[in-house]
């Protein structure tokens, strides 16, 4: 199986550790993973801000770059949802606007083979115990697109529950949005910050030292709030926890 990592533009630029963790994890599980260097951005920010026409060439580019692979794995619930939920919708809109089926047929091949990381692990590889070791108290925030668009359900917490040494504590109000929302965070900064603060307070109330999520965009917002408050709690991407082993511990 030819597996490609779609890291996402945010992770590539700002969170390379997450990318290294995914590579390490997948290779440990015997997956030969490739990083096609032509990859850039799925177009989510453009699409969600109202620039659908600008997102279309990015989607076509995505489809070209990942055309030759059997599976595309991404450590981002929102970018995964962009491909799986919104690429078909973009094609349908283009059709409705009388622009034919070219966009739909260009995008169709990549849609079903794009997986969010936990889906790939649980559904494709069929594992929940990835031999990880992470001796910390962790609380998990299921991000909105992972939760509601992709329906990741219990996949992430099933994976976390199998991590040796990890003490998983439930996050109160877990399904509430953290307030990031892409450009929402700067277009409505007051509401966004208030949501972020409430999320942080809920996380701190658990006594956990680590706030885990499977999307660094949300973690950038939550982590930025934690840092501003000088909180001792650390935001950590799920992939980095799953990549951590007794021999090679990530902190």
């Amino acid at each position: 199986m030819r597996v490609a990592l779609f890291l996402t533009c945010v992770n590539d630029t700002l969170y390379p550790d997450t990318g290294r963790a995914v590579v390490k994890l997948l290779e440990r599980l015997g997956v030969d993973v490739d990083f096609p260097a032509g990859q850039t951005c799925c177009g989510q920010a453009h699409y969600n801000t109202g620039y659908r026409h600008r997102a279309e060439p990015l989607a076509r580019h995505f489809a070209e770059v990942f055309a030759g692979y059997d599976a595309v794995v991404t450590p981002s619930g929102s970018c995964g949802a962009m491909v799986r939920e919104l690429y078909p919708r973009m094609g349908a809109r283009a059709r409705a606007e009388g622009r034919g089926t070219s966009l739909t047929s260009a995008l169709a091949p990549v849609v079903p083979k794009t997986y969010e990381l936990t889906e790939f692990l649980v559904d494709v590889l069929g594992v929940t115990d990835v031999d990880a070791y992470y001796p910390h108290r962790v609380t998990y925030h299921p991000t909105c697109h992972g939760l509601r668009s992709l329906g990741l359900g219990e996949r992430p917490t099933r994976l976390l529950a199998q991590v040796k040494g990890l003490d998983l504590v439930e996050l109160p109000g877990a399904d509430e949005c953290c307030g990031f929302g892409g450009t929402f965070s700067v277009k409505n900064p007051d509401v966004s910050a208030a949501m972020g603060l409430d999320k942080v307070r809920a996380a701190e109330s658990t006594g956990a030292g680590v706030l885990c999520a499977a999307d660094n965009s949300c973690l950038m917002h939550i982590g930025g709030t934690l840092a501003r408050l000088d909180s001792a709690m650390r935001p950590v991407h799920l992939a980095e926890i799953l990549a951590s082993t007794e021999e090679e511990q990530l902190v």
Binding site: T13, G50, A193, M195
Partner: protein, 497 residues
């Protein structure tokens, strides 16, 4: 819509004050979280919830596809049952019709059933201008009216008030409107409810004209339906001699049987009740010749368009017309919970307001152009909506309309909107990003530049960047982007395409 919302600032500014008002935040948080949890429980009881939701969606879509046909059928049925149907293209016309009908009775006051449509058109203000007093009889609407306030929730218009505030409003203002509040009124729910009962009873018994909206209209029988909890609606619908109902044209269902679905999904979604305490249904008037039976002697139905046909013309946006105004989407919305209802600048607040107001009113005003952005697109609203309105989808669609313009229907005519002003910098940034993202080399060069200059990056941003860094630290740019690490350590495995 109601004149009271004219000139509202854009959503972010209006929300800022609410976010900082700790009493308001406390009131809203408590109220929305309580009803949110109750709704989830009430819905979970039904094994066939998903199918009821899908049935509701389909019934509404089917009706909307042939709305013209069903409206004519409704008019015939209402007329046959002794009622009179009036057609109002917009708020002004509807207000003129209602004021004329009230004047013709010779009355100077009316009692009102809680109704979103009459708030949408600003009927109370229009009647006041004609010297006609309109008394709200729903408890929460009464609180809003007595407090000279604006509603902030569809179902619980006074959700932003706590008991202490309500007590003060009653004690201070009831005497100006009719029977004063009892002396020594406390803020216990029972005492507050009793004060309202006594105050309202006087109005029910005196009123000759009632004004209502409707939750549903049945095309095949001409029956109107009002669903409520307090019984004030039942009073207004049965006691007065003349009943005037102002109803949006999208409230239709084709058959009596279709009600079966909505009478299950509406109460569970709105008040978390299995069944609401009062469901009033009426078909025309009491028998015109014999005077036998219950209800009004004269019945007028004012069918309101006010932007609905234009909304119906939009393929993506039309799903907003499926709304049954349950307000589940408000109660679950994290933005509504913090911004409060007033920030939405419309009688329709929350997620549904954010997609309905910019369609009914257009996107020309500052508030309407900002509403599609009043959401983090978290999707909680779509999840709970009993008619499966994909609110995030419509929000994004309306964002597109704001920034790119495009074809819309206004008062029945196709027009092409120009892109809104004030998005020039964003448009340029999006264009530049799209350029770089289709050229991996350009993207990599930018990443490397950011990595090399990272020691010079400020911790807080000036200008527009403050919107981020006022409350959050910026992420640190790493020494090396992932793609360079990959090239360095696995170089050649997959050469840069």
């Amino acid at each position: 819509m109601s004149g009271t919302f004219v000139g509202m600032p854009a959503f972010p500014e209006a929300a800022r004050d609410a976010v900082r008002d700790t009493t308001l935040r406390g009131n809203l948080r408590h109220a929305t979280h309580t009803i949110r949890a109750k709704r989830a429980k009430a819905v979970a009881e039904l094994e066939d919830w998903a199918r009821l939701r899908e049935a509701g969606r389909q019934i509404k879509d089917r009706t909307l596809r042939r709305l013209d046909h069903y409206l004519v059928q409704l008019e015939e049925a209402v007329t046959a049952a002794g009622g009179t149907v009036h057609w109002a293209a917009d708020a002004d016309e509807a207000n003129r019709i209602v004021a004329g009908l009230v004047r013709a009775t010779g009355e100077r006051e009316v009692v009102k059933v809680k109704s979103m449509a009459t708030q949408e058109i600003g009927l109370n203000e229009a009647l006041a201008a004609e010297g006609i007093a309109a008394y709200e009889t729903d408890l929460a609407e009464l609180i809003v009216q007595l407090g000279d306030d604006r509603p902030s929730h569809i179902l619980v218009p006074a959700i932003h008030r706590n008991r202490g505030e309500i007590r003060d409003i009653f004690a201070r203002t009831m005497s100006e409107w009719g029977r004063p509040a009892p002396d020594g009124l406390t803020d216990t729910p029972a005492e507050l409810a009793e004060a309202a009962r006594l105050h309202l009873r006087e109005k029910f018994l005196r009123a000759k004209v009632g004004i209502s909206g409707a939750n549903f209209m049945v095309a095949e029988t001409g029956t109107l339906v009002v669903v409520e909890s307090e019984g004030n609606g039942r009073m207004c619908l049965t006691l007065p001699e003349t009943l005037i109902s102002v109803v949006g044209i999208e409230k239709l269902v084709p058959t009596w049987r279709d009600l079966e679905v909505f009478l299950q999904t509406l109460p569970r979604s709105s008040t978390a009740e299995r069944m609401n305490p009062y469901t009033s249904m009426w078909t025309g008037t009491r028998d015109g010749l014999t005077g036998e039976g219950d209800g009004p002697r004269a019945f007028h139905l004012v069918l309101l368009d006010n932007g609905r046909s234009d909304t119906l013309a939009d393929e993506v946006g039309r799903q907003a017309l499926r709304c049954i105004r349950c307000s589940a989407c408000l109660n679950v919305c994290p933005v509504y919970e913090r911004a409060g209802g007033h920030a939405y600048g419309s009688v329709y607040p929350g997620p549904i307001g954010a997609i309905l107001s910019p369609q009914l009113r257009g996107t020309a005003s500052e508030i309407d152009a900002s509403l599609p952005y009043a959401s983090s697109l978290c999707g909680a609203c779509y999840d709970v909506c009993p008619v499966a309105i994909d609110i995030p989808e419509v929000l994004v669609h309306l964002r597109e309309r704001v920034v790119q313009g495009g074809p819309v229907t206004r008062r029945g005519a196709k027009v092409t909107l120009r892109p809104a002003k004030g998005h020039a910098a964003e448009r340029a940034a999006m264009r530049a990003a799209a350029f770089a993202f289709t050229r991996p080399g350009t993207l990599a060069a930018g990443q490397r530049l950011a990595a090399r200059t990272r020691r010079f990056h400020p911790r807080r941003l000036p200008g527009p960047g403050r919107a981020w860094s006022d409350s959050r630290e910026l992420p640190k740019v790493p020494a090396e982007p992932f793609r360079d690490w990959w090239l360095r350590t696995r170089g050649g495995k997959d050469a840069e395409k």
